[in-house]
Structures are given as structure tokens and as C-alpha cells.
């Protein structure tokens, strides 16, 4: 029994760390532009698929493939900002959010055209597993957890203590006032989209060896990240990571309890948590 609880906890934390990475991407964009980016899951898909494609050609070493995956994701993030968000700078937030829905449709279609519709695979960063509290944990999973932790720490520190981070936050608070202080909201928005696509791409590269990746996987991952970000309390990276880990554990537990209705159980618990803490779990 104790072993099962441990196993569920460990597995939940591992998958939760991917949700945490995606929720970090949501937070970066939300804290800079006030927009909820519904193409966030597609960044994950692009990162994973482009790395898997590069590695699948057989001429690129794994490190190179990872570099290609990260680079492609970052480039896509920058392009999304330049082509879809910048022309709508003056429109309301809901219109910009729907624009990201359009972007996600385009990205899915492009991925299906370039990489086909079959699932792609990628070798793990480091094969093998270690014993952790009586549970075998793949080393790849530890990399996922580590990436989530590093990303969260870097963002929390960056948003709080660096000039660029403060400038980004100022843009969401009041773009006009930020502009008067010499901050360029357009450049900050481009930076936020690039950074968040980089985080999403990293999540995709780490996830592909575990669960494989195909062009339509991004949507569900993006929604899980969205749920994680809001569950924790939107706008705070640490809260988003906590939300991701909680969501991962809830999911594993409900999958153990009833494999048929695992989403129902996990999401019903999310609704209950929301009703108990209507402003987010870690909101003050």
C-alpha cells in the first residue's frame, strides 16, 4: 500500500513537472502581455517533433537534435508574436486570446504537413533508472523534474530582480506607463513569446522519449498546463509549478482509482480545489 502511494506520488510528480514547465510558459506570456496563449501546447509539440525529426535523420547527434528542437520552438514563438499578436496589439485581450487559438490550428496543420501524422520517438537523454524510496525511477524523469525546478527558479528570480523581468511585468500592468518609462512593450512581448516557446519546447523534448509525440498531442498538454497555471494562481511562476505538480499527482491517483474515468476524477478535484480557494491555491 505504502509502495503504491509512493509510486503514484513519484509518477505524478514526474508528469506534473511537464505540466509545470507548460504553466511556466503561460505565466511568462500572461505576466508580460496579459494574454492567455492557447498555442502553448503547440510549442511543446513543435519542440518535441522537430528534435525527434532531427534525431530520426540519423545524421545529428542527440545534443544537436535537442538544440534544433529548442531553436525551432523559440523561432516559432517569435514568429507567432510577430505575425499574430503584434497586429492585434490594440485589440482587447479576448480577441488576442482567440488569435492564439487560430495560431494553434495553423501550427497543428503545419506540423501535420511537415512531419506527418505518425507518432515520433526520441532516445532518452540518459538511459537507465535509479531506486528512489523503493520505486524505480527512470533518469529521464529526473531530468524533467530538474528542468521544471530550474525553470521555475530562473523565472522567479528573473521576474523579480532583473531589469528586463521588471520591465516585462510593467508591460502587463500598464503598457502606456511602461512606454513612458522607456520600456518597449512590443519587444518585451516578443521576448516573452520566445522565452515561453523555449520553455514549452524544452518540455516537449523531455517528454517525447517517455510518451512519444505527434502533431495533435499539444492541445491536451496545453490545456493541462493552463489548468496548472490557473489552479496555482495565474501570474506567479512558483504557484504554477505547484499547480502542475498537484495536477500530476491528482491525475495519477484518479487513474489508479478508476482508469476509465481518470480525467473526470482529476478535474472534479480541480473544480473542488478552485471552489475552496477561488483566487488560486497560493494566492494571498
Amino acid at each position: 500500500m505504502q509502495n503504491i502511494a509512493m509510486l503514484l506520488l513519484v509518477k505524478g510528480v514526474m508528469i506534473g513537472s511537464i505540466y509545470a514547465l507548460i504553466s511556466l510558459g503561460f505565466n511568462v506570456i500572461y505576466r508580460t502581455t496579459g494574454v492567455l496563449n492557447f498555442a502553448q501546447g503547440e510549442f511543446v509539440m513543435v519542440g518535441g517533433l522537430s528534435a525527434a525529426w532531427a534525431s530520426g535523420t540519423g545524421r545529428v547527434p542527440l545534443a544537436g537534435a535537442i538544440g534544433i528542437g529548442l531553436g525551432t520552438a523559440a523561432a516559432v514563438g517569435w514568429l507567432v508574436d510577430a505575425l499574430a499578436i503584434r497586429p492585434l496589439r490594440q485589440a482587447s485581450a479576448s480577441v488576442q486570446i482567440i488569435a492564439t487559438v487560430g495560431v494553434s490550428i495553423c501550427l497543428r496543420a503545419l506540423a501535420a504537413i511537415f512531419w506527418g501524422t505518425d507518432p515520433c520517438h526520441l532516445p532518452p537523454l540518459q538511459p537507465g533508472s535509479v531506486q528512489l524510496a523503493g520505486v524505480a525511477v527512470e533518469i529521464q524523469n529526473l531530468w524533467m523534474l530538474g528542468a521544471g525546478a530550474v525553470g521555475m527558479a530562473a523565472l522567479a528570480v528573473g521576474f523579480r530582480w532583473t531589469a528586463t523581468g521588471r520591465a516585462m511585468r510593467a508591460c502587463a500592468e500598464n503598457p502606456e506607463a511602461a512606454r513612458l518609462c522607456g520600456v518597449n512593450p512590443g519587444r518585451m512581448s516578443a521576448l516573452a513569446f520566445t522565452l515561453s516557446a523555449l520553455l514549452g519546447g524544452l518540455g516537449g523534448i523531455l517528454l517525447t522519449p517517455v510518451l512519444s509525440m505527434s502533431y495533435d498531442r499539444g492541445t491536451m498538454l496545453g490545456l493541462k498546463g493552463f489548468a496548472a497555471a490557473i489552479l496555482g494562481g495565474l501570474g506567479h511562476p512558483v504557484a504554477g509549478v505547484a499547480g502542475g505538480l498537484i495536477l500530476g499527482v491528482l491525475e495519477q491517483c484518479s487513474a489508479w482509482y478508476s482508469s476509465l474515468y481518470k480525467e473526470t476524477l482529476a478535474l472534479a478535484l480541480v473544480v473542488i480545489l478552485l471552489l475552496l480557494r477561488p483566487k488560486g491555491l497560493l494566492a494571498r
Binding site: I98, A99, C106, I230, A268, L275
Partner: protein, 345 residues
């Protein structure tokens, strides 16, 4: 001070009258080679009914819902189960489904409407996924395989099997819904909704029972989605009802329809549904006419691009943009008219 004046009835009901003429004329135009447009038209009406409810909820009352595909599917399946396993006549099954949709929205709304903004969006999203999972996995709904050979609405043999008859039936319902929404939004209740959207605290201070009105609109929009679901099940495809239609992504598509149509306008729901539903057809048709091979491969991409273009050029949505163009055209004609009268001795 600028006191809002009631809109004269003549102007208020010009739109529904025009729509009625268009509905009556459409099947006469869509004949022969174009008969395949009739089912598409039925789908526009079905989606239009849901999105009109969603526009009232989102555009007027300011409450987001990312779970309406769940209510839509719930209505369809409750109706289908009542008509097959429950052996009810179709009309009674339809009534049961709409009532069940309203009750579900009442219970769900009572719980989640105390949340705001993104939190409400997440809670309704969870609701939609939960309903979708039940539809996809429960025994009684046939699971992923779906249900076959549901009874059809025939209205005493009047519309049996005829695409034009079905078209008139669904559009008659959609027309009544729009008519009702038009008069609602022009009434004091409509102004109360706008007040809630503007500032809930101020609305409450002005004596508006904010929570009850939010709940009422949520129940109405849920019931409308369930009604659309029954029309989908009993009129659009009685031969087969599957879970694909009610996916999570469809909730997002419904919200997209509302935004594309223009959320501050009751007509936005119909306009957005019509545009988004026929866009796929237009892309395929245009691709064939231009002789581009493999349109299917590029269709989704073009669809996404067109969506982004509509937003870039009409950020307020299509209906307000159309209104703006009509006003500009009228002003232009007015100038010409004045010039002509001045020139004439």
C-alpha cells in the same frame, strides 16, 4: 445627461424580418448541384443557437464558459437515451433533454458562478471535459462507438427525410431564439446584463441581483446548448450520434465563433456560427475552382490563417464591422444625395 432611449420596434425587428426572408429563400436557391448546402445550413442554425446563448453569457453578462460543448453533448445524449432506452416519443425526449440541460446548468452554475475570470474559464473547462468523458466512455451512450438509428422528428410526416424540410425546422427554432434574444437585450434585463459585465459591484449597488441574473443567463445558455444538441441528434444526423462532435476543442471553437461574430451584438452568434461553419466548405470550393490539388492537406492551415486575418481586420468581430461599413456606405450615399439636390435648381 444622455439617457438611453428605447429602440423603436420598427428598427428592432427589421433584422429578424430580413433573416426570415433569407431563411425562406435559401432552400429555393440551394437546388440541383448546390443541394449539399442544405445540411451545411442546418449545421449553421444548430451552432447559431448555441453561440447566441454563449453571446448572451459572454458578450453581455461578461461570464466566460469553456464548457458549452459539454452541455451540447449532454442535451444530444439525454434526448437520444430518452428516445431509445426510455422509449419516449421524440417530442417528449426533446423536452426532457432541454429540461435536463437546464437543470445541469443550474447545478453547475450555482457552484462555479462564484468564480471569476480565468478561474471561471478553468472550472467550466473541467465541466466540459467531464461531460465529454462520460459521453465517450459510459455504457448507456454507446461509448466511442456512438448510437445508431435514432427516431427522427417528422412533424407528422411534414419534414421526413427532406433536407429542405429539416432546414426550415432548425432555422425556425434558430429564428425564434434570435427573436427572443433581440427583444431581451433591448429590454431592461439586457441593460442589467451589460451593467454586470461592466462592474459587478456597481451593478449590485444599483439593486441588480447579480448572482441570480448570472445564474439565469447561464441556465438559459445551457438549455439552448442542450436544445441545439437535440436538434443535432434528432434532425441533423438521426442515423448516427457519435462523441467526436462534443470534444473539448469544440468548446473552444464555440467561443471562437462568438468572438468572430462580435460579442457585443446579439446577431454575432449567428454570424460567427455561419462564417466558421461555411469557411471549410468555401475553402474546398475555392480550391477546386482555382484547380489547386490537395486542398484537404492545406485546409486546416488556410482555416487558421483566415481566422487570424478576420481578427486582424475586424478585431471587434464581424457584426460590428458590418455595421460600421453600412454606416459609412449610408453616409457616402447621403453626401451624394445632398450634392445632387444642391445641384438641381
Amino acid at each position: 445627461m444622455n439617457v438611453p432611449q428605447p429602440i423603436p420596434n420598427r428598427r428592432l425587428f427589421r433584422g429578424p424580418a430580413l433573416l426570415l426572408v433569407a431563411i425562406l429563400a435559401f432552400p429555393l436557391a440551394a437546388r440541383g448541384d448546390y443541394a449539399y448546402l442544405l445540411p451545411l445550413g442546418q449545421l449553421c442554425a444548430i451552432y447559431g443557437i448555441i453561440v447566441t446563448g454563449l453571446t448572451l453569457l459572454m458578450g453581455f453578462t461578461g461570464q466566460i464558459s469553456l464548457g458549452h460543448a459539454g452541455f451540447y453533448g449532454f442535451g444530444a445524449y439525454v434526448g437520444a437515451v430518452a428516445a431509445t432506452a426510455g422509449r419516449l416519443p421524440v417530442a417528449a425526449a426533446l423536452g426532457v433533454a432541454v429540461a435536463a440541460g437546464a437543470l445541469l446548468a443550474l447545478a453547475a452554475g450555482f457552484a462555479v458562478l462564484r468564480l471569476h475570470g480565468h478561474h471561471l474559464a478553468l472550472a467550466t473547462l473541467c465541466l466540459g471535459v467531464i461531460l465529454g468523458e462520460f459521453i465517450n466512455k459510459a455504457q448507456i451512450t454507446g461509448g466511442a462507438g456512438g448510437m445508431f438509428d435514432l427516431p427522427e422528428i417528422t412533424l407528422g410526416g411534414l419534414v421526413k427525410g427532406s433536407a429542405a424540410g429539416k432546414f426550415y425546422l432548425v432555422w425556425a427554432v434558430a429564428w425564434l431564439v434570435v427573436l427572443w434574444a433581440v427583444q431581451l437585450t433591448a429590454s431592461p434585463v439586457g441593460r442589467a446584463l451589460k451593467a454586470i459585465q461592466g462592474d459587478e459591484g456597481a451593478a449590485a449597488a444599483a439593486g441588480i441581483p447579480v448572482f441570480w441574473i448570472k445564474l439565469k443567463v447561464f441556465v438559459i445558455s445551457g438549455a439552448l446548448a442542450a436544445l441545439a444538441g437535440t436538434l443535432y441528434a434528432f434532425v441533423y444526423t438521426p442515423s448516427y450520434l457519435g462523441p467526436e462532435e462534443f470534444s473539448l476543442m469544440f468548446s473552444v471553437t464555440l467561443v471562437t465563433m462568438a468572438v468572430i461574430g462580435g460579442m457585443g451584438n446579439v446577431w454575432g452568434g449567428l454570424a460567427g456560427a455561419a462564417v466558421m461553419t461555411s469557411l471549410h466548405e468555401l475553402i474546398t470550393l475555392g480550391g477546386e475552382k482555382l484547380g489547386i490539388v490537395q486542398v484537404a492537406r492545406w485546409e486546416q492551415l488556410i482555416f487558421g490563417l483566415l481566422l487570424a486575418l478576420i481578427l486582424i481586420f475586424c478585431p471587434e468581430g464581424l457584426m460590428p464591422a458590418l455595421g460600421g461599413w453600412a454606416q459609412r456606405a449610408r453616409a457616402w450615399w447621403g453626401r451624394r444625395w445632398k450634392m445632387r439636390t444642391r445641384l438641381e435648381p
